[in-house]
Amino acid sequence: MEAIDWVILCATLAFIVLYGVYKTRGKQTAAEYIKGGDARWWTVGLSVMATQASAITFLSTPGQAYTDGMEFVQFYFGLPIAVIIICVTFIPIYHKLKVYTAYEFLEKRFDLKTRSLASILFLIQRGLAAGITIYAPAIILSAVLDWELKYLNIIIGVLVVIYTVSGGTKAVNVTQKQQMVVIMGGMIAAFVLIVTQLPDNVTMDNALTMAGDADKMKILDFKFSLDDRYNVWSALFGASFLMLSYFGTDQSQVQRYLSGKSVKAMRIGLLFNGLLKVPMQFFILLVGVMVFVFYQFNATPLNFNPAAQKAVMESPYAADYEALQNRHASILTEKQGVQKEYAASLSGEAVLTNPMVLSEQLETLRAAEEDNRQQARILIEKADDSIETNDKDFVFIHFILNHLPKGLIGLLLAVILSAAMSSTASELNALSSTTTIDIYKRFTNKNSTDDNDVRMSKWFTLLWGALAIAFASFVSLFDNLIQLVNFIGSVFYGTILGIFLVAFYIKKVKGQAVFIAAVISQIIVATCAILHEFVDGIEILPFLWLNPLGAFLTVGMAVWFQSMFNGGNAVLVEEVSS
């Protein structure tokens, strides 16, 4: 990194932190600090978008497209369905009841223990996710830039804590607007630079054809398969439940739109996401596909994770790895020659070999390259089994550091850190609000004053920030970071969503029935998830399907238990909302 990159990176991050502190200076009431309450629709919309788009989105997603193609975009088809349901049903009730957290509604509808169960499940899953949100960019940046991991964890965490503690929900909202501008500006600049660095005869059409040849351009998959993580059906059913739970019941998102100044601002802010999220994810994946095309004409390392390369070169397997590197270099040279000829044929220039033959040669060379990479992964694992051999999360950052011009490297690093800060800020803000409103104020100090609520909320933000940094220091890499976050969410979200679905739509079910149903459902879902992910030879359900499973189990059992019980202590939804 050059001095200009450091200046851009530090200036961007310092501006965001200072802007957040400056815009929210002065004394705030609990309503202002915890709820916000005066945000316009574009602030709500950008805040919701920035909360969901973490650093993982910008590191993992292009890498996912580089290795697996564009299919991941299907995952977001559930989002528009979910936000419309939330706009129709959830927002009017949250707004009418003037709740600070989503879980407050559950006590009004059911009882205290159901509210507490949902808020504790949220605190567990979001507390873990907050650690990963900090850790994910830190581990990757530390590996490629040789920065100390623990210091990176601390720097990201502390920057977020400064303005989140200082200004609460409003500080989170105002900084997320700046962060989204930095993020989208940086990604568009990266895309333009990738395309301009392709050979002259590679038009966009030719680039997409080449990517299609390598099986990167299959976007929609209509085949129903439980083994396949991403297809249209898992998106419409599995992901819809995940999105409904995430946007409707996860306080880190609910708090974003509850800060809207009116129902109209909340709804338009959410619909803004329903409209733009799918094309935005498509664009980020397309960046990854263009990076793939770029690397068809340029050298790649045998493994994109520099820490993995370093470990194996310092082990007894160094000679074997060097042999693989030599083979990799000769495959790349041959592949680049064929690729150039193929590009020329696609652009209508005369070539000696039939384009179909060239395409087949490329396929053979890609298979040889992948086989070589696989052998390298095996050596890395033998050298150090604690190092992540799956290098897809390192692809985009490798491109940024090695092929972008001075200045833009600093901007793209600011993009990644801004994204990490924006989602972490929402998480800490929501964890603090839930701890203050649903736990502290409800159980410990029912008569807490306004000033005390603000003070406690600040302390809880600080506490959750410290816990997130501590967790980030212990977590290790999963198959893919973005999937780890979705996996943790899927284990808890189904049950929480089931509770809310019963609350909103099944008026006859009361607190006792839904509470027992939720506890049993959570135990079943967690058992299925653990067996499926961590026990060899046992396959139950891919994680996306845990969302509908948890929701159906909770709803089904709640209805069944209620039919067995008589009486209860619930309030019907009409009574609550009147």
Binding site: P80, H95, G212, D213, K218, V278, E574
Partner: protein, 44 residues
Amino acid sequence: MDSKKQEPKGLYSKKWNTAYAMIIIANLLFAIIFYVISGRYGGN
């Protein structure tokens, strides 16, 4: 019911239903574009 009367004006109006329909239609259009792109480049 009384609760309906107390809700902000136009909470369930035709204007909102149109907005929801537009979001669905926009996303269906995206799906169609993706289908066309898959057909053009994905089946090579």
